[in-house]
């Protein structure tokens, strides 16, 4: 490895995750396995949910094999269960998966893969692999962390999806067992650690209002997409308030500052971008 790049960009203002990064391969592998196993087991919840809402075993396993980004999988299954048409259901799942593009942007420089390797590495670009990879001090350990986390997580997530789906099919009436509550509980668990600041809370609240108001009025699947407008709406309002504040005409307490000093989409330890699963590990 002729070039060892420095991945601790200036943008990284927050302290690193609880366990300080170590250059020792064993430590990297241990961390990667920890995340991979903890999160990989959650595929069980997906298998149960997906089979519970009526997807076949093959469809459930295809989602984990081919989509491999948890929140999107749950979103698709939930929207299909509610009777949404395939395209609006897929659109919601797609928007949830869009954050992975931003992880990829950061990982690209850190991992430094050749363009022939990137198409294969891309499938593993998700919250957890990004968190582990970006916590490493150099390219070699970053690649090691990415590979071990990705492989462990992919294998376990798919195995536990299969087990969960088989289990749900064996149970029969999944509603009697309360399994229809698994989906919303998963979303809540993913959402909770993101609600750190006023902006996030307002956006979440507005999204809930939008979806509840439009649910009885619009075709299934559309209300969730409408509710996504809460994000740009909140940013527009926040931007106006900041400009007003800069002009010295208003004092708005409780609004977090924008700008590169407070990047929200960091997968490397910022609470906003850490999933509940990662928090467990911490």
């Amino acid at each position: 490895m002729p070039e060892q790049i420095e991945i601790r960009t200036t943008e990284r203002a927050a302290p690193p995750p609880p366990a300080p990064p170590s250059t020792s391969d064993a430590a990297v592998i241990r961390d990667a396995l920890g995340v991979g196993v903890a999160v990989g087991l959650s595929g069980f919840a997906f298998g149960v949910t997906s089979a519970g809402v009526g997807l076949s075993l093959l469809q459930t396993c295809a989602l984990s094999l081919l989509v491999f980004t948890g929140a999107s999988q749950f979103a698709l299954v939930g929207a299909l269960a509610a009777g949404g048409n395939p395209l609006t259901a897929a659109a919601g799942a797609f928007f949830l998966g869009a954050r992975n593009a931003f992880y990829g942007l950061r990982l690209s420089a850190v991992l430094g893969y050749r363009s022939t390797v990137k198409p294969f590495a891309a499938h593993w670009v998700i919250d957890e692999t990004s968190a582990v990879t970006l916590a490493q001090p150099d390219r070699r350990t970053a690649r090691l962390g990415f590979t071990v986390t990705g492989l462990t997580l992919y294998v376990l997530w798919n195995l536990t999806t299969l087990v969960g789906a088989l289990g749900a099919e064996a149970l029969g009436d999944t509603e009697a067992w309360g399994l229809d509550a698994a989906g919303p509980a998963v979303f809540l668990a993913l959402l909770a650690p993101m609600l750190k600041d006023t902006v996030e809370r307002v956006a979440a609240g507005l999204a809930v209002v939008l979806v509840m108001v439009t649910l009885p009025l619009l075709p299934t699947g559309v209300p969730v997409l409408i509710s996504a407008l809460a994000a740009p709406a909140v940013l527009v309002v926040q931007g106006r308030r900041e400009r007003a504040k800069e002009a010295g005409t208003a004092q708005e307490p409780g609004v977090v500052p924008a700008g590169p000093a407070d990047p929200p989409a960091r997968p490397d330890g910022a609470p906003e971008s850490r999933t509940a699963i990662e928090e467990d590990r911490a």
Partner: protein, 102 residues
């Protein structure tokens, strides 16, 4: 068949955004506003999905045992329970309330 269409579209779309990130030249999506929007979109979507799946049955609003289960999951989250336990609590409470005729 509809389900397979949805699976195919989601799989292709989700793969392409992952690949786009890895393959794009540095700085393309680095504008602060774009990054903030990318961070806030999942918040809005997850909140809406949670509400929709808790309080609706297709296109009808309703309140059933699921709401109790999700409320219990929220309590578990506040108590910093691990991910699978949170989901387990929601399932168990929902099943329990249903068994009691809720």
């Amino acid at each position: 068949m509809n389900v397979w269409i949805a699976i195919a579209v989601t799989a292709v779309g989700c793969y392409l955004v992952k690949y786009l990130g890895l393959a794009a030249p540095a700085g393309v999506l680095e504008r602060p506003l774009v990054k903030r929007l990318a961070a806030l979109l999942p918040v809005a979507l997850l909140a809406a999905l949670t509400a929709q799946q808790t309080f609706s049955d297709g296109s009808h609003l309703m309140l059933d045992a699921k709401a109790a289960g999700v409320a219990a999951a929220a309590v578990a989250l506040v108590m910093r329970a691990p991910f699978l336990l949170v989901v387990g609590v929601a399932v168990a409470v929902t099943a329990g309330v249903r068994a009691l005729g809720g």
